[in-house]
């Protein structure tokens, strides 16, 4: 691997990201999958870095999943998105940041489509007016939330309590980065580092002290693939794609996987359990899996937040081996305690995948 070659490509795909004043929209599914992630994004950006991030309870789904599953036509998605833009306009913002990769791809695709077909934009403005009497300005800038953590990565590194270094060996941790398909595959120039060698997550890992692994199936889909998973008859394809990735990354012994998409961490986390139970195979050390994190969760760990406060107990694959390597102190007894010490239910332990 010629690192300078990648740097050359990364230099070609940089984008200017406004530093402040963002209208933040959440993902439909992430709050169920990894509930701490979006909360921590706001905590880091607003609470810690004192940036202006606004969100509203009137925001809805962007329609992305329905669109990609072919259950609603494009005009409908566009009108839903137009309404989100109207909410941004009403709140007085021009920079729009999406938590979800598919939403991000959806927004970019729609804005590019309107650029090519202005008559469609006019029609959507009419539809929106008829539907809910709203008007909108197009955002000046659309970012994905990982773009912002990337932008703030050095500020985070400066405040970091932990580095991505294995405290037992002193070596940098080996990280697999996985980028959601809709981040840059449709519009490579809109992603930091482009589509073939995205830099957005690499930049965070490098800045926080880890080493990035490049393995043969790095670009491959996580396995979610909407219809692959949602149609039960196709679910084996979803599992098989994830399995292919794990088989490919296995020889590199990654310490963790970092992702920037709602679906990817979920499927790479949960399918490790299914692969273990059906194939008897685990990919981490000593029967554990490979912990899968969102970038917000990783940033929070690095900044020293309590792992159980950021929702890591909701992962299928145990994160404890990673916490031990990072030197993060945690109380195993606190793992299943929720807000105000409320005892959460304890999950049944799997037969094969080691989880504690």
């Amino acid at each position: 691997m010629i690192y300078q070659g990648k740097q050359k490509i990364w230099a070609d795909y940089q984008k200017e990201i406004p530093d402040n004043h963002w209208f933040y929209v959440r993902s439909c599914i992430r709050q169920n999958f990894f509930p701490g992630a979006e909360k921590m994004f706001m905590e880091i950006c607003r609470g810690l870095l004192k940036k202006d991030f606004f969100e509203t309870e009137h925001h809805t789904t962007c329609g992305g999943i329905a669109y990609h599953c072919d259950t609603i036509p494009q005009e409908t998605v566009m009108t839903i998105v137009a309404r989100q833009f109207a909410l941004m306009t009403e709140a007085g913002y021009e920079n729009y940041v999406a938590s979800c990769i598919t939403s991000f791809g959806n927004y970019i695709e729609i804005l590019e489509t309107w650029k090519e077909f202005p008559e469609l934009e006019t029609r959507i403005r009419e539809l929106l007016w008829k539907a809910c009497r709203r008007e909108f300005n197009k955002p000046k800038y659309v970012a994905h939330a990982s773009d912002l953590i990337y932008k703030y990565r050095n500020e985070i590194a400066a405040r970091a309590k932990y580095r991505l270094v294995n405290r037992f060996t002193g070596e940098p941790l080996r990280a697999v980065e996985h980028i959601g398909c809709h981040y840059a595959k449709m519009f490579p120039a809109r992603g930091i580092g482009g589509a073939e060698y995205p830099y957005v997550l690499c930049g965070m890992i490098e800045s926080w002290g880890g080493n990035v692994i490049d393995y043969p199936e790095r670009r491959h889909c996580c396995g979610y693939g909407f219809r692959q998973y949602h149609v039960k008859a196709n679910r084996g394809y979803s599992l098989s794609n994830t399995h292919k990735k794990f088989e490919s990354m296995e020889p590199y012994h990654p310490d963790f996987i970092l992702t920037n998409c709602p679906g990817c961490p979920y499927f790479m986390d949960r399918w490790q359990y299914v692969i273990a139970e059906t194939e008897g195979k685990t990919y981490g050390e000593n029967g554990y899996g490979i912990p899968v994190l969102t970038y917000e969760e990783l940033a929070s760990l690095v900044l020293g937040y309590n792992p159980w406060d950021i929702g890591l107990q909701l992962h299928q694959v145990a994160v404890e081996p990673l916490l031990d390597k990072l030197g993060i102190e945690y109380d195993p007894k606190e793992k299943y305690k929720g807000l105000n010490e409320k005892e959460l239910m304890r999950p049944e332990l799997p037969g094969v995948l080691r989880c504690c």
Partner: protein, 110 residues
């Protein structure tokens, strides 16, 4: 545990894992086997093709991709009429080739 779904078999050909020992033997006996450029003349003229799926082009390809069983089961339907030899623009003696395949892949023919 049964989840109602499981790993799907992959249709991909992994050339790293294809054992070409027999094909190399075939190539020594029939150097012209490599000359096939997949034009399909043999298949389109084959009287067995339309009814049985026999295709000389596919047989040659399948043998190179590690699909011996598939190749041999196609070849069972060959009637050795010689039409493919007549039409091959690369002058491959397909009749001779077929007989060599039968000899070399004897175990797969069984």
């Amino acid at each position: 545990m049964d989840f109602g779904f499981k790993l799907s078999p992959s249709s991909a050909i992994n050339l790293d894992k294809v054992d070409l020992e027999k094909f190399e033997e075939l190539h020594r006996a029939e150097p012209d086997v490599y000359k096939c450029m997949a034009c399909g003349s043999c298949t389109s003229t084959c009287p067995a093709n339309k009814y049985s799926g026999m295709s000389m082009r596919k047989v040659i390809l399948a043998l190179q991709r590690g699909k011996e069983k598939e190749a041999v089961s196609m070849m069972r339907n060959c009637m050795l009429c010689g039409k493919c030899t007549m039409v091959c623009p690369r002058g491959i003696n397909t009749r001779h080739l077929i007989l060599s395949i039968c000899r070399i892949y004897e175990e797969d023919v069984k």
